[in-house]
């Protein structure tokens, strides 16, 4: 519901939505009790019309989200690839069903026309579908039998690395978000997502879709607020296995990468030339996978 829509003289007073975090399958406010003003992008950042008060997540919210994500690792990584694919596809179905809502939210968030926003939402739905189809194929593409010089059965298979902190891109509130989040969970990891700082509403709404898509609680956790503030404890967290720095500025990314070295988190650096409409390839899937090689003697 935008302010402009309300002021267009409709007789009925519309109902605003209270945007909340999505942590452990629940929708809490920030434990800090803080919010920040989210405006549309028409007047430039911070200068547009008021859209909502989004939760301003704290370090404690970030830590709570990591606890929830860790708890969900065993179940989600232990699910069959087929099952994960079904669940991801279900997300696409639910997203499609709420298409109008997201078109509105993306248009507001990114200052796009309805038609352009609709194209972005369609691309985001299609991206979920693309990644849904990857869950039971990636192991065959990047794993395999190793023809070792000896009587051994030797197999390499990819496995999820664990809890991945994701700094969602700042420039693409839904398509960019989906493009970085879907590969993390498609491969069996769980995620703590920091939504685009100035355009968090599509991400927070995505939580509602995930909550009703058979995605187990804690598999995806979504925080809104100041990226730098939330990212710092995530990069330093000893129980986070990997961090995607896509949404960080070069200076912040360097700082966070250095912090991530403390427990040798897997790091994906931001790319200045990321094109969210391009063919995603597999690099965002393999970034969060470990290769496990199992040997066994072969004989009679």
């Amino acid at each position: 519901m935008t302010v402009s829509e309300r002021s267009e003289g409709a007789a009925r007073l519309s109902v605003f939505k209270t945007y909340k975090l999505y942590v452990g399958g629940k929708f809490p406010r920030s434990e800090s009790g803080r919010v920040y003003e989210v405006t549309d992008s028409k007047g430039g950042r911070g200068g547009g019309a008021w859209l909502a008060n989004a939760p301003l997540a704290s370090r404690k919210d970030a830590r709570d989200a990591v606890v929830a994500a860790r708890k969900a690792v065993a179940g989600w990584s232990g699910a069959t690839a087929y099952n994960r694919g079904q669940v991801l596809y279900r997300v696409a179905e639910m997203l499609e069903g709420r298409r109008e809502q997201y078109v509105r939210e993306v248009a507001d968030a990114e200052g796009l026309s309805k038609a352009k926003a609709a194209a972005v939402v369609d691309a985001a739905v299609d991206r979920w579908v693309w990644y849904a189809g990857w869950t039971d194929k990636i192991a065959q593409v990047v794993g395999g039998a190793n023809p070792v010089a000896g009587p051994y059965f030797n197999l390499s298979t990819p496995e999820p690395t664990g809890v991945v902190a994701v700094l969602a891109p700042q420039d693409s509130s839904l398509l960019g978000l989906v493009s970085v989040l879907a590969p993390v969970i498609a491969t069996g990891n769980t995620a703590v997502v920091v939504a685009a700082e100035h355009a968090p509403l599509p991400a927070l709404s995505l939580g509602e879709v995930l909550a009703t898509s058979d995605v187990p609680a804690g598999v995806v956790n979504i925080l809104s607020g100041r990226t730098a503030e939330i990212a710092a404890p995530l990069a330093a967290h000893q129980d986070v296995n990997a961090i995607d720095l896509t949404g960080a500025s070069p200076e912040l990314a360097a700082e966070l990468e250095a912090a991530a070295a403390d427990n040798l988190k897997r790091v994906r650096r931001p790319s200045p030339t990321e094109d969210w409409t391009a063919d995603p390839g597999t690099s965002r899937l393999t970034a969060w996978l470990e290769t496990k090689t199992v040997w066994h003697p072969m004989g009679v």
């Binding site: 990047v142 700082e255 990468e257 991530a260 070295a261 403390d262 496990k292 090689t293 040997w295």
Partner: protein, 496 residues
């Protein structure tokens, strides 16, 4: 005495096959040269403390010179057709085979590991790695890294002292196959085989600057990792140094792979064939004096068979021969350096001080050189330092468990995640355990097996990336869309 060992006559391998010069320079741009500031250091034989040779001590200026040489060579090397690059690697592999006896003896002299292992493990694997990656050089488009795979540029590689030539092969072979050029820094205690490898490159006619070898200390490695002309960093060594490297490259465009420490659990179930398991335990921890990042240093044995396994293990350990590494009957050679011996000694003492029971077979250790008898600790708890810290020596900690779930819990209770072992006759249990263990390599009913086709590397704080196989090649290729330092433009710039 009925159980007395047979007295073996000494069976020494001749060292005449190695022609050691009194001093060696750095290998930069196809030539040996002194360090810019003329510094040198000595490499000693850990088994006798004899000075083997003097080698140049690289400093920052030398690092810079080597990186420039590698950059200059990168343009033409990466532009060579893959089939030609591959032929150079095949040549190197063949020469390594031809000279394998010489190199095995040299490695044993410089490193202290038994000739039995350099001859039968290190050298065959070294040649195999060059053969394997040679064949990739003209097949890069099929490696699954996109249709137009490009090399990254100059690879700065820093390797440890436990498998000097093998670690060189793990790093140099895939780098060159993919079209990169390299600057490699071997460890300060084992620089010689890398310098001999420089001679192998010369015999193979490898173009100047494609491989550069810098002997030196940690500061040279740090300067190499930090050098702005380096596009890819590959390191094998301690987790502590690995973390420092990860911090150094933070915010840069450099790609990194790290193979770091480990504290592997070797899990023995009650249905495991005891003799086979005992051989595996011995191979897991005493291979290469325990100087192995993936060594099975924590034995997790099921409580019901603890006594039986320990009795058999002690009996087997009593037959291990410790001594002259050049003797073909030697199982356990010298500890690589006085410094490493001190570290092992201190950790073993901590084990006793914290209440674990220490046991070692009776064995006479030579008077000169650095030695440590194969040692076993029982009554170890998960809190003990010997169960948590990487000892990197022939010291085994024994813990027990009752259920598979407890074994998984204990095995995964470490910041490391490099390797693990499982011993059981039950296939479904192997597969279930293998999937639950957080480790990059799982050996079931075997241990410490390596192969160039087989990806190797760790989870968690054991580092990132894989070496070996197609995965090891990918570490030296750019991902589609990823920018690289290019084949021409930047090269010229740095070259001026």
């Amino acid at each position: 005495m009925a159980h007395q060992k047979f007295a073996y006559a000494p069976a020494p391998e001749s060292r005449a096959v190695v022609d050691l010069a009194p001093s060696y320079g750095l290998f930069i741009d196809g030539e040996f040269a002194e360090a810019a500031d003329g510094r040198v250091f000595k490499s000693v034989s850990p088994s006798t403390e004899e000075v083997l040779a003097e080698v140049a001590h690289a400093g920052e200026a030398d690092v810079d010179r080597a990186v420039r040489a590698a950059r200059k060579a990168f343009g033409t090397w990466s532009a060579l057709p893959g089939a030609e690059r591959g032929k150079y690697l095949f040549r190197i592999a063949r020469i390594l085979q031809e000279r394998s006896r010489e190199l095995a003896v040299l490695e044993t002299l410089d490193n202290g590991k038994p000739i039995r292992e350099t001859r039968d493990v290190d050298l065959p694997l070294v040649a195999a790695h060059f053969f394997y990656y040679a064949g990739w050089a003209d097949k890069l488009a099929y490696a699954g890294c996109g249709p137009d795979p490009r090399p990254l540029g100059v690879a700065g590689q820093v390797i440890p002292w436990n498998f000097p030539l093998l670690m060189l092969a793990w790093k140099v072979a895939p780098a060159l196959a993919a079209g990169n050029t390299v600057v490699l820094k071997p460890a300060e205690t084992t620089p010689l085989s890398a310098l001999f490898f420089a001679d192998v490159c010369r015999q193979a006619g490898l173009p100047r600057g494609v491989v550069n070898i810098l002997t030196g200390y940690g500061d040279a490695g740090a300067a190499l990792v930090a050098h702005e002309g380096v596009d890819k960093v590959a390191f094998t060594g301690s987790t502590e140094v690995g973390k420092a490297i990860a911090r150094t490259v933070a915010g840069s465009r450099k790609k990194v792979t790290l193979e770091l420490g480990g504290k592997a659990a070797n899990i023995v179930f009650d249905d495991a064939p005891v003799d086979q398991a005992v051989e595996g335990i011995v191979n897991g921890i005493f291979f290469n004096q325990g100087h192995v990042c993936c060594a099975g240093s924590r034995l997790l044995v099921q409580e019901s068979v603890q006594e039986e396994v320990l009795d058999a293990l002690k009996r087997r350990m009593s037959t291990l021969r410790v001594g002259d590494p050049l003797d073909k009957n030697t199982d356990i050679g010298a500890i690589n350096s006085a410094e490493q011996l001190a570290r092992i000694t201190a950790l073993a003492e901590a084990g006793e001080a914290e209440g674990a029971q220490r046991w070692a077979p009776r064995c006479e250790l030579p008077e000169s050189g650095y030695w440590f008898a194969p040692t076993l600790f029982t009554g170890v708890t998960q809190a003990h330092r010997i169960a948590r810290e990487e000892i990197f020596g022939p010291v085994l900690s024994v813990l027990t468990f009752r259920t598979p779930a407890e074994a998984v819990e204990k095995a995964n209770n470490t910041p490391y995640g490099l390797s693990a072992g499982i011993w059981t006759e039950k296939g479904s249990r192997i597969l279930s355990m293998a999937s639950k263990l957080r480790a990059g390599v799982v050996w079931a009913n075997t241990f410490n097996k390596f192969d160039p086709t087989s990806p190797f590397g760790g989870y968690k704080e054991s580092g990132y990336g894989r070496e070996g196989g197609r995965h090891g090649l990918a570490a030296y290729l750019a991902e589609p869309g990823e920018s690289t330092s290019g084949r021409g433009e930047e090269v010229g710039e740095l070259d001026r």
